[in-house]
Symmetry: C2
Subunit: 96 residues, 2 copies
């Protein structure tokens, strides 16, 4: 079992993750990415896959050509945990 974020931790995390939206219904964070084409989008996905596998924490995500939509939440915590915050920060670092 992984601890979910407290209310205060969640508020701090959402403030820090300026490019991510909060999905209240699922207590998840979401971000949409657009690239030049499929090749660039899938290259990004491959880098995210490596991050996810290394962290043993995986996204729910979809791709349509140049667009990648990512949702992060922690099933074992029933909502956001520090794992989501860490993965979101690592993903952000890829596109900065």
């Amino acid at each position: 079992m992984i601890e979910p974020l407290s209310e205060a931790e969640r508020a701090d995390a959402l403030d820090a993750l300026a490019d991510w939206d909060h999905d209240d219904g699922r207590d998840a964070i979401t971000r949409s990415f657009k690239f030049v084409d499929f090749s660039e989008a899938f290259a990004f996905m491959t880098r995210v896959a490596l991050l996810a596998e290394k962290a043993d924490h995986h996204p729910e995500w979809s791709n349509v050509w140049n667009r990648v939509d990512i949702l992060l939440t922690t099933h074992d915590a029933g909502g956001l945990s520090t794992r989501d915050v860490a993965l979101a920060q690592a993903i952000d670092a890829l596109v900065e």
Copy 2:
């Protein structure tokens, strides 16, 4: 502009693609794949990405850990075309 399948061609294609479902609303075909873990699922996605890029025809798809959901349709044809049938057959060949 790419030609959509005729009614007869669509019926033949759907018969041949036994593992794919037809999404009537979008005139698309969908198939769900399950793997042992994320690593196997993403390895499959990488092979599909190479097929798609080679064919210049890309899926709408999503992944959650060991599961990959693929939807194929041809936007330029307003529905299914021979491109979807060819890509579905190539994807099927990966998992046979």
